[in-house]
């Protein structure tokens, strides 16, 4: 362990890898917001559409991200085209798409609740949607590490490719601890941001109540 040598470009690579994690999470959340929003509206609409939306949300909630990722990777042909344009997604995009069932179902659940609050005349209750989405974003950042399994060079992949060259368990654990520190700091910062947002919304609510 005393001889642990971390290459000078490791931390640069790790940060670049973590940017990829954020990229994946952002794509997954954007698609999730669009798709989940539609599902939330569909569910609240009731009837056949509502039943369909509810079933779909349930199935998406049950779909394991890792399996969805391999499913997409193997089901979409590498030369897939739409109107003559290549639509075969990159590995990064496949990881993002595999997180969409989670993000869309999360957005649908929270979005439906927010819409209910809005209809009940509580815009601030509806605004709780924002911290919830922030929480989902950071969960997505952490989950995007699954991309390491299909060759996406994200943060964890950078750590693992360095760890594989270390023979001693102690050295590996030091490296893993660095990874936890980096990801942990990101996560805790995210949660702090979420708390800040919640506090701000709380203050807004208090101000609203104070106004006769």
């Amino acid at each position: 362990m005393m001889g642990l040598h971390i290459p000078s470009d490791f931390f640069r690579d790790l940060l670049e890898g973590m940017v990829v994690n954020f990229e994946i999470a952002a794509i997954a959340l954007l698609i999730g917001l669009a798709f989940g929003g539609l599902l939330a509206l569909g569910r609240l609409g009731g009837g056949a559409v509502g039943a369909f939306a509810t079933t779909l949300i349930g199935l998406m909630r049950a779909a394991p991200t890792f399996v969805v990722m391999f499913f997409l990777l193997n089901i979409i042909p590498r030369d897939a085209t739409l109107f003559g344009v290549g639509v075969s997604p990159s590995p990064l995009m496949i990881v993002a798409l595999s997180l969409v069932p989670y993000s869309a179902s999360y957005v649908a659940d929270n979005g439906a609740e927010s819409l209910k609050q809005l209809r009940a005349g509580s815009p601030l209750g509806a605004l709780q949607f924002l911290p919830n989405v922030t929480r989902a974003f950071f969960v997505l950042v952490m989950s995007s590490s699954a991309g390491a399994a299909i060759g996406v060079t994200e943060g964890i992949a950078v750590i693992l490719r360095e760890a594989v060259l270390l023979p001693a368990l102690g050295d590996k654990l030091v490296l893993f601890a660095i990874g936890i520190l980096f990801f942990g700091a990101t996560l805790q910062a995210g949660f702090a941001l979420m708390r800040l947002l919640q506090r701000h919304l709380g203050r807004l609510a208090m101000r609203d109540q104070a106004i006769p």
Binding site: A63, F66, F70, I75, S145, I159, F176, F183
Partner: protein, 564 residues
């Protein structure tokens, strides 16, 4: 007794007659003489009037009629068959040129690849395949392979020089990048390695350079080209080789190609014996180990005859690539055909058709169910333990548990799994059971810590409600703890479902669950779309069952809380 001399005379006469009738029984011709006679006869036939206009012409005769031979060669296989403008080069190309020169005709090359070489030969658009084609028993039914083989490749494992991998024992639990359909994938899988699949071999060197792959497996003939690049050779080396497969030239499997095949058999023998193949290999900087050994073989008296190419002591057998079918493979194929005929969907169930795939599939399902059950039990166990510790009034119990929870929450799931696997492998030798056990512990810890936190928070609210007087000696009472568990039922259930959903990720550390098993199966069989669809259906169904069971658990816990 007087009849004995007469009988001896009669026997001697019969023997002399037999030797006169079948001279080859007593004397073997050289391959050179046999080839010269074959060529001479074919040339004579080709020069006879009207022969060349005949339909169904013998293919050797046609070579002389047209004064050309049409070899099918590759154009994008470095060192063996490449083309830049009108210039072709490579070992296969030069072998084809040498054959044409020996026959005294011109080579007219046609481009082939792995998918088109056999159909082009069957359509009579080429005369001979000379295109890095491995000779296996499955292909024996499609083409007539030329013996002796003109080259031999093996699958090699390539990785960074610093990586201490020397044999099969060192690859268990590691990820190896391979191409889909490579015949040696099944062998890699049997040594507990994980596979990362790629469609094209061409991407493997870049994946190694970019460190996406730590190890890659592919033909040595493929990596030969990259090892002559100094940058690549400095960083990577061959770890070990396996699955040797002889390469064969091949002609059509028709009677009209028999004499052409025979001529090529004899030329191949002569080329080995005289070092022609060896010289071409050296000129093209491809490996020569096999060719050096073959040169020695074909210089042996028993092999250097016109019958050498059929002598089992001289020629190599084809690689037996056929996988043992399951007893119900026929019925599965019939179902596939039935579905395809009615829906037009290319439906394939490779996991039911061969014994290795069937065995992997069955084990994968059992292991997945063990993983799910184990992850649920471990989540509950760690939730109780960590929940109890975090609820303790003793600082030394409470804070380590809280710190562990924060660390576990801060670690991405893949990293936690890898840490668990690394620790497990430091304690126990690698095995599937160790990988499954490590995955269960990791999933249990990750989800259990969150559920434990929920229990501790529920405990805190209960204490607040009751004026903080419950429990003695800093340890929460069993009754209060039970109520806290009931109160946090929703959170516990949510993390139990999360644990079940997370089990497929165990494949990342080599746990042989269903995702891992199906990835292995699709690496050597077709039907990826159907296979991964079934996988998704399986896991969604498992999670739906877990959700139902967890809902029952939640109802029970909530009912318990209401009763309390």
């Amino acid at each position: 007794m007087r009849a004995w001399p007469t009988l001896r005379l009669a026997l001697a006469g019969i023997l002399a007659g037999a030797v006169a009738t079948f001279p080859f029984v007593a004397t073997a011709e050289t391959p050179d003489a046999a080839l010269a006679k074959l060529i001479e006869d074919a040339r004579a036939e080709a020069s006879a009037p009207d022969t060349c206009a005949k339909p169904e012409l013998d293919r050797l005769v046609r070579v002389f009629c047209d004064n050309r031979i049409r070899p099918g060669v590759r154009e994008y296989y470095p060192l063996f068959g490449t083309r830049e403008g009108q210039t072709r080069s490579g070992y296969d190309v030069d072998v084809a040129r040498a054959l044409a020169r020996h026959l005294g005709v011109e080579p007219v090359f046609a481009r082939v690849n792995a998918a088109t070489r056999v159909p082009l030969l069957a359509d009579d658009r080429i005369d001979v395949i000379l295109a890095t084609m491995g000779h296996n028993t499955q292909r024996d039914g499609q083409v007539r392979f030329i013996r002796p083989h003109y080259y031999q490749s093996e699958t090699i494992i390539v990785g960074p020089r610093a990586l201490p991998v020397k044999g099969w024992a060192d690859i268990a639990g590691r990820t190896i990048c391979v191409t889909i359909g490579n015949g040696s994938n099944a062998q890699i899988v049997s040594h507990n390695a994980r596979l990362m699949l790629f469609d094209e071999a061409g991407v493997l060197p870049d994946q190694l350079r970019e460190e996406t792959c730590t190890l890659a497996a592919q033909d040595d003939s493929f990596f030969d080209y990259y090892f002559i690049e100094p940058d690549f050779a400095v960083r990577f080396d061959k770890k070990f080789g396996f699955a040797q497969v002889p390469w064969g030239m091949a002609v059509a499997r028709t009677a009209s190609a028999d004499r052409l095949a025979r001529a090529l058999d004899l030329m191949s023998q002569i080329f080995h014996r005289d070092g022609v193949f060896l010289g071409i290999a050296r000129a093209n900087r491809v490996g020569t180990g096999f060719l050096e050994r073959q040169r020695a073989v074909w210089n042996r008296p028993e092999c250097n005859t016109d019958a050498g190419s059929t002598n089992p002591a001289c020629v190599l057998p084809a690689l037996d690539a056929a996988l043992q079918p399951t007893p119900f493979a026929g019925r599965v194929a019939a179902i596939e055909d039935w579905i395809e005929a009615r829906t037009g969907v290319d439906f394939s169930l490779p996991m039911f058709k061969t014994m290795p795939a069937w065995s992997l599939f069955k084990d994968g399902i059992v292991n997945s169910l063990i993983l799910v059950a184990g992850a649920l039990a471990a989540t509950l166990l760690f939730a109780m333990v960590l929940g109890g510790l975090q609820s303790s009034r003793r600082f030394l119990l409470r804070w380590p548990a809280r710190a562990s929870t924060i660390v576990l929450q801060s670690s991405p799931v893949v990293l936690t799994l890898v840490i668990a696997a690394a620790v497990a492998q430091a304690i126990f030798p690698y095995s599937s059971a160790v990988a499954i056990g490590a995955a269960i512990v990791a999933l249990g810890l990750m989800n259990g810590s969150n559920a434990g936190q929920a229990i501790a928070e529920a405990m805190h609210t209960l204490r607040t409600e009751r004026g903080s007087v419950q429990g003695t000696g800093g340890i929460p009472t069993t009754e209060l703890f039970g109520r806290a568990v009931s109160r946090s039922a929703t959170q516990i259930v949510s993390f139990l479902i999360n644990a079940a959903k997370g089990t497929p990720i165990a494949s990342f550390i080599g746990a042989p669950e269903l995702l891992s098993a199906l990835t292995d199966i699709t690496s050597f069989a077709s039907g990826r779309a159907t296979t991964y669809t079934l996988l998704l259906v399986f896991y969604v169904a498992v999670v739906v069952v877990v959700v139902w069971l967890c809902d029952r658990l939640r109802s029970w816990l909530e009912h318990r809380q209401a009763a309390a």
